[in-house]
Structure formats: structure tokens, C-alpha cells
């Protein structure tokens, strides 16, 4: 076997995420499962494999922003899962949605840990980050 063979992508899930998953609506469960399937098949090297926008959660934050350390140190990313529906971005070639899936991207981008599903923004329009206890896996 060549030592240049690609590392297999894998996923895990937070303990609280697993408990709450069974209570998600079916379309939300399916959207998350589709994201997992896409990641296992393609990884995150090419975002065009994903219909929704996928990005790291410290994007655009200054280093001294309160959320920068939390998101960066925990390698938190998020994916727009299309719940309740997708909207085409007028500026870029991806879709956004009201609800996003938070996950940690680990092991040189070959492993994801599913953390939580939340609305993209809180009522005060701040980015809705998962609570720290959700990071336990």
C-alpha cells in the first residue's frame, strides 16, 4: 500500500448532540445525515460538493473578539443545512439557511465531531455559538 493513500474521513458526535438528534424533525435529521455522507465521501477539500455554505466559525472575527478564542481553539466550523430552506447567496456560489450545524474539524481535516444545531443568529443578531458543554464527546 502506498504511503500516499488518502486518509479515510471519519466522524463522531457530541454526547448532547446524540441525545437531541432523535428529537429533531426528520428533514433536519436527513440534512445532517446528508452532510455526514458528503463529508465521508469527499472531505472538505472542495466546498462545491456541498450545497450549503461551510466555513470556520471564527471567520471575520478580530483576535480579541470574545468568540475568537472559543471557536478557533476548538476548531469550530459550521454548515448551513438548508432548514427550513436554502437561499442562494447573491454574491457567492453557495446557499445559506437559517439553521446551521456546528462541528469541530480535527485530525488534519479528516475528522468531524458533530456538536449542535442552532439558528445562525440569536435574536440580538449575534452569531449563535454552541454552549461549551456540547463540545464534550
Amino acid at each position: 500500500m502506498s504511503n500516499k493513500d488518502k486518509t479515510k474521513n471519519s466522524f463522531e458526535f457530541g454526547k448532547l448532540f446524540l441525545i437531541e438528534y432523535k428529537n429533531y424533525p426528520k428533514d433536519q435529521q436527513d440534512a445532517i445525515a446528508l452532510f455526514i455522507k458528503t463529508f465521508l465521501d469527499h472531505g472538505l477539500d472542495d466546498f462545491s460538493n456541498y450545497k450549503g455554505k461551510v466555513t470556520y466559525s471564527w471567520k471575520g472575527l478580530e483576535c480579541d473578539h470574545p468568540s475568537f478564542a472559543f471557536t478557533r481553539n476548538n476548531s469550530l466550523w459550521h454548515y448551513h443545512i438548508g432548514i427550513p430552506d436554502y437561499r442562494q447567496s447573491p454574491y457567492f456560489n453557495y446557499h445559506t439557511s437559517d439553521y446551521i450545524l456546528h462541528f469541530m474539524l480535527l485530525c488534519n481535516r479528516t475528522k468531524i465531531v458533530l456538536i449542535d444545531t442552532t439558528a445562525h443568529y440569536r435574536p440580538d443578531r449575534t452569531f449563535w455559538l454552541p454552549n461549551p458543554e456540547y463540545l464534550d464527546y
Binding site: 446524540l18 438528534y21 432523535k22 445532517i32 445525515a33 455526514i36
Partner: protein, 69 residues
């Protein structure tokens, strides 16, 4: 040249100061390991999904639901 015996570092106020190096291997600061907690972490089940379960969206969904029970 004599070996450096003290570390110099910036304290919070920004002034240079010196302090004796801490005894990294001092027997006065033993490390206490909670063996029970460590063993419980080692023995904790790790959820795993087979390749067959990852073949489709439905099978992934069913596998996750099975873990949730």
C-alpha cells in the same frame, strides 16, 4: 561562563524581573492520578458506525438514531 541559574521574564506590569527556576521534578509536588476516573475513561464505550451504515443518508440516520436510544 557560568550556567544561567535564573529565568528572566516579563511580569504583568511589563518590568523585567528575575525568579528562581521552579523545581520541575521536585518530590514536594507529586502528581496525583485518579485511577478510577482514568480507568472509567478507558473503559467507556466508543460509538462506531460501520462502513455499511455509512453507505446512504438513510442508513446514517438510522445508525445515529440507534445510538440515541
Amino acid at each position: 561562563m557560568d550556567a544561567v541559574k535564573n529565568d528572566m521574564y516579563m511580569n504583568l506590569s511589563g518590568q523585567l524581573t528575575t525568579k528562581a527556576k521552579p523545581g520541575y521534578y521536585s518530590a514536594a509536588n507529586p502528581v496525583i492520578i485518579d485511577i478510577a476516573r482514568l480507568q472509567a475513561a478507558i473503559d467507556a464505550p466508543r460509538y462506531s458506525i460501520t462502513e455499511q451504515e455509512c453507505e446512504s443518508v438513510d442508513s446514517i440516520r438510522e445508525a445515529l438514531l440507534a445510538f440515541s436510544i
